[in-house]
């Protein structure tokens, strides 16, 4: 018997994540309104950061280190651009590679930790990096950051215009989504097994640490891409762009949307970025309203919005299929039909 791990259904749901990104191309075409540009940039950067959280959540690890890796990617790109290398593809590659290289030795240290200990260490890593940025003014500009980062270019085109920035952010989001899709699908059985029952996976021969390290490195690279897009949008690399608090937002995007499929971070980011902009018109209540929304969603839909909707449809479909089975099955209490087809 030949058996393949089946992940087709999840794959389709994940493709929806990619499909939802596509219409964003229209934003710079349909409007010149700065507000929508800013919203699009904010949502797409948030999404890339949330995807970094999502990759780690696939292995049941909650990482607060996303802003730190974003900072490493963003600063690497800013320093390179200041040095005259403004090619978009080069900067993207650099902003992925730099945090990934940092994550490799770091992973060897912190991936031994589980649960709350891992969370704490990633949180501390953020703080250390913030400190490092302030203490290395020669390299990172210290508390001034690096301002006046030149705009990126591609094939001689200057992408410093408002539209250009949205397109750069969109390209980064596409690439990050594709990377996440590729990694979480190629190694879905491994990640899912590590998430659910690591001891069993090891007893069957899986070298779990390799996959955990690999996931950590890719998640760091994806976060670096988000950092690059952020620096490109602001034309500045500054420590305050990468605060620990922003990391909490990215985690909220992934968890509110649902950690089960890639559609989760997309939906979560969309909803929370939109609502936080909506609430910001309420002035001093905005943070409270934002927090309230998160509490409501997490209590009412513990597996995230996408997960809960998914379960809802599954329950309906099961009920329908049971009632459809009843007449044909009345005589066979003992012999169960072999189930086939969809879930």
């Amino acid at each position: 018997m030949k058996m393949q791990p089946r992940s087709r259904n999840v794959f389709f749901t994940d493709m929806w994540a990619l499909a939802l990104l596509a219409p964003m191309i229209l934003v710079p075409i349909l409007t010149t309104n700065q507000y929508y540009y800013s919203l699009a940039n904010q949502a797409l950067i948030g999404l890339v950061a949330a995807l970094s959280v999502y990759i780690m959540l696939r292995m049941d690890l909650l990482s607060f280190a996303v802003p730190a890796f974003m900072a490493i990617g963003g600063y690497a790109a800013a320093i390179a651009a200041k040095g005259g290398n403004t090619n978009l593809l080069l900067l993207m590659a650099l902003s992925f590679a730099a945090p990934a290289l940092v994550a490799l030795p770091l992973g060897a240290l912190v991936l031994r930790l589980k649960g709350v200990y891992f969370v704490l260490v990633t949180f501390v890593f953020n703080e250390i990096l913030q400190l490092a940025l302030f203490e290395t003014p020669k390299l990172s500009g210290g508390s001034n950051g690096i301002s006046g980062v030149p705009s990126v270019t591609l094939l001689g085109m200057d992408l410093g215009t408002n539209q250009g920035v949205v397109y750069v952010t969109l390209l980064v989001a596409f690439v990050a989504t594709l990377i996440t899709l590729a990694v979480t699908h190629r190694y879905r059985p491994e990640f899912a097994s590590i998430e659910e029952n690591e001891t069993l996976a090891e007893s069957l021969g899986l070298a779990t640490w390799r996959y955990r390290t690999f996931g950590f490195v890719v998640a760091a690279g994806v976060a670096g891409l988000a950092g690059f897009a952020l620096v490109n949008m602001l034309m500045t690399a500054h420590p305050s762009s990468f605060s620990s608090f922003s990391g909490i937002n990215y985690i909220a995007y992934a968890i509110v949307g649902g950690r089960g499929t890639m559609l989760g971070p997309v939906v979560g980011t969309g909803l929370l970025v939109w609502s936080s902009n909506l609430f910001s018109s309420k002035g001093e209540y905005s943070a409270g309203l934002f927090g309230l929304l998160i509490i409501v969603v997490v209590t009412a839909a513990p597996s995230g919005l996408v997960g809960t909707i998914h379960q809802f449809f599954k329950a309906i479909r099961r009920r329908l299929s049971v009632s459809a089975d009843l007449p044909t099955n009345s005589d066979a209490a003992t012999s169960q039909p072999i189930k086939g087809g969809g879930p």
Partner: protein
């Protein structure tokens, strides 16, 4: 990527699993001391003993979940002492668990596919799993999440997953515990199958004396971490000290 070269055991059919002078201590608590045993390909060794005798810890140490305090474990001439769980598994020494242990949210078919995928075994090999799935009543549940299955089926699935890795040696930790009497013959069938298809050596820790008598030509009795007796079950189980230690001294518990 990610297919690191695994350590391979020489494919010599006469490779045995040997345990020499094995001891395990947790701080001041000596779980077992100076255990020696040998398991040939296709052989079956029963390990029995009262609760707390160190049987499960013995399996935990051999499979690499715990490292021993002293002693050696060898597959053929290759030492596996202190190697991590996945490496020992990759060398063909695979355990099953006393409790049900599956990827609960994944369906039965997916569980078996993962076992095959994570192992170093030959992907094309026909292990006859179809037949066993049918006999154990798992066939109609291939699409069901394994966590929803009855206890007995989950346990049989755990055994089949161990088999799907194409082990050389199986370490079975109370495979019959929690099974209904009519389900226990499945264990006989499973062990027989593992031996005939893969030539597995099987170490079986069990409390079901009937099962031990049926399956094992040789048994080892552990008591308080020492080997109390070893030999053919009929002879060993008749010894006075074994009856006292294992069955307890009270009359009504003899069975």
């Amino acid at each position: 990527m990610m297919r690191w070269p695994k350590e391979q055991v020489p494919s010599d059919a006469a490779v045995t699993l040997r345990v020499e002078g094995l001891s395990k201590r947790f701080g001041g608590l000596q779980v077992f001391d100076d255990i020696a045993l040998e398991l040939e390909p296709g052989g079956i060794l029963g390990v029995i003993g009262p609760n707390g005798a160190g049987k499960t810890t013995l399996i935990n140490v051999i499979c690499g979940m715990l490292s021993p305090s002293a002693g050696r474990i060898l597959v053929g001439s290759q030492e596996i002492t202190g190697k991590p769980l996945h490496v020992v598994s990759g060398m063909g020494v695979v355990r099953s668990f006393q409790q049900t242990n599956t990827f609960r949210s994944a369906c039965v078919g997916e569980n078996l596919a993962r076992a095959a995928r994570f192992s170093v075994g030959d992907a094309e090999a026909d292990l006859g799993l179809d037949t066993l799935l049918e006999e154990f009543g798992l066939r109609q549940h291939l699409e069901d999440p394994s966590g929803d299955l009855p206890y007995g089926l989950q346990k049989m699935l755990g055994l089949l997953m161990a088999l799907a890795t194409q082990p050389r040696f199986l370490l079975l930790d109370e495979p019959a515990a929690g099974l209904e009497v009519r389900e226990r013959v499945h264990i006989d069938r499973f062990v027989q199958h593992a031996r005939s298809v893969l030539g597995c050596g099987v170490l079986i820790v069990e409390h079901d004396m009937e099962l031990i008598r049926r399956l094992c030509p040789r048994i080892l009795v552990l008591e308080a971490g020492r080997v109390l007796a070893s030999g053919a079950p009929a002879e060993v189980l008749a010894r006075r000290e074994v009856i006292d230690a294992y069955m307890g001294e009270s009359e009504e518990e003899k069975c």
